[in-house]
Amino acid sequence: MILTQQLILGLLVGGLYGLAAAGLSLTFGVLRVLNVAHGELLMVGGYGTFWLFTLWKIDPFLSLLGVGPAMFVLGLALYGALFRFVVKAHEEARIKNSLLIGFGLTLVLHALAIQLWTADERSVTTAYSGTVMRLGPFAVPLLRLSSLLLAFAILAALHLFLSKTRWGRAIRATAEDWEAAALMGIPVGKTYLLAFALGTALAGIAGGLVSISYSISPSIGMEWTLKALIVVVLAGLGSLFGSFAGGILLGLAEAMSVVFLGGPYREVVGLLLFLIVLLARPQGLFGARA
């Protein structure tokens, strides 16, 4: 009983882990840039949805249509101002320097969010927030279910974009081998820019969904960065649906840990999984490809 209920909740939160990880995996896979500020970008997107709802009563799901593009533009700006300088280096230095820059960005965004919006925990509460669907003896919160479905739909749309359009193919080619892509006439710089902005937009949308179905505060950033990293390590790179499945796997693993070990150790299980996979593949996340 309790286990099944927890597993349902784990499945629902797992979709958001997957969405958060998809953005990180996109920037990591294409640019070889490890942006550890990903969770902070998610937090910023969450505040976007929260304020649009609180100040102008804009429906939170509708507001994602504004938050997504706004975060896309933020991604363009961040790439232009910071990460553009990193991608010139060779791969190892690229990952290391981007990690450091992401770290600096994390501190700045976190401190800025506290200055601007205080450290309070917030969440969007709409008229339909408490709605629960009954599946026999089990409760399925409607908002979390819609978030999961929306997360899946967004990833499916992105998948179509990556496989069917010219720019999408450019992104995939660059991810596979940027030098070969450059030789084929693909503007690698612009592709990087696009992929980074898309990753930022995905983080922002995931944040919006988090503020709808869970809660946000300036300090959620690192937690979500770690979740996304765990999923990326679990699922590997290169497949959006892999990220989605990895996210759900993490959600289910956490649910099991809540039942068997108790709530306080929920975060530990994911991190342990993460360390085990990391140690089992010490050559790093690109090991399979290299």
Binding site: I101, L107, I114, P264, Y265, F274, L275, L278, G284
Partner: protein
């Protein structure tokens, strides 16, 4: 030579400070600066000289604090408790070192971050109660021994790094940072040198944690495992000048003082300034403030020359 002299003079000045003033706010600031120096310098040994970005430094600080505090509150003499704390931190460092050094570059960084978070959450769950020093100690609490203990640690830490770096072992550590394969080919064992840097770095971090446990009247045990300790160390080392002996010391001074000044009006504001400064250093000034100063001096010297 000039730097050595400046360092000795500065330390002597700090040692003499309590003779001239009894202002506890100044002495407290001193303790914070000395602790920050130890944190930044110990991080710098592994992160700057050995090139291993350790984002789990707080774990060792926290272990040192936990062990020292527990023993000390139970009645064990301070020096013994402090050594035990450092020992446990080092032992843990060596234990995780072998598997962790299998991870390269950024993977080492996120792996250590994950490990430290596991420890932080577990400690928070196991020890949720606030830790307060004994009532008898509280009645006779005096800032002076704390001041001199942390000052001694800061001097010890800087001296250890300053002596180690130019030595044969120090050269080995730097060789491994520059090119592991080349170092191995020249007979320098990469794992052994990285482990040694890790062991010294974690011992110093454990000592800093122990001194914190001796200094602070009451805190939650989880607090000493907070990633903030790591982040502070990284910021101070990089902004001062990573991979130099004097850089992290100046970084720590700059960081703590500016933080205190800003905290009067805005609590977290210093992180915005330091975060931006950090990004600028990573992108454009790899030598930090120390490197920028050297470069500026050379430019001035060159422009003064008539030909």
């Amino acid at each position: 030579m000039k730097l050595l002299l400046a360092g000795i003079l500065f330390a002597a000045g700090c040692a003499a400070l309590p003779l001239f003033t009894a202002r506890t706010d100044l002495l407290n600031l001193g303790v914070q600066i000395f602790l920050a120096v130890v944190l930044a310098q110990s991080w710098n040994l592994l992160g700057g000289y050995a090139g291993q970005i350790n984002l789990g430094h707080a774990a060792f600080f926290g272990l040192g604090a936990l062990v020292t505090r527990t023993l000390w509150v139970a009645g064990v003499p301070m020096i013994v408790s402090l050594s035990a704390g450092a020992l446990v931190a080092t032992a843990f460092g060596c234990l995780i070192g072998v598997p962790a050094f299998g991870l390269r570059g950024a993977y080492f960084a996120i792996g250590t971050l994950g490990l430290a978070e596991i420890l932080r959450i577990t400690i928070g769950n196991l020890l949720p109660e606030i830790s307060t020093i004994r009532a008898a100690e509280l009645a006779s609490y005096n800032i002076l021994p704390r001041y001199y203990l942390t000052l001694c640690l800061a001097v010890l830490c800087v001296a250890v790094v300053a002596l180690l770096v130019p030595s044969r072992v120090g050269l080995g550590i730097r060789a491994v940072r520059e090119d592991e394969a080349a170092a191995e080919a020249s007979g320098v064992s990469a794992v052994r040198h990285k482990l040694l840097a890790l062991a010294i770095s974690t011992a110093l971090a454990g000592l800093a944690g122990g001194a914190f446990a001796y200094y602070h009247v009451s805190y939650y045990p989880q607090h000493t495992f907070s990633p903030v300790w790591t982040f502070d160390a990284v910021l101070m080392a990089f902004i001062g000048g990573v991979g130099t002996v004097h850089g992290p010391v100046l970084g720590a001074l700059f960081y703590v003082i500016l933080k205190e000044v800003l905290a009067l009006r805005w609590v977290e504001f210093h992180l915005i300034i330091f975060g931006v400064l950090f990004i600028v250093v990573v992108l454009f000034l790899p030598g930090g403030l120390v490197g920028a100063w050297d470069r500026a001096r050379r430019l001035i010297a060159r422009s003064r020359r008539p030909w």
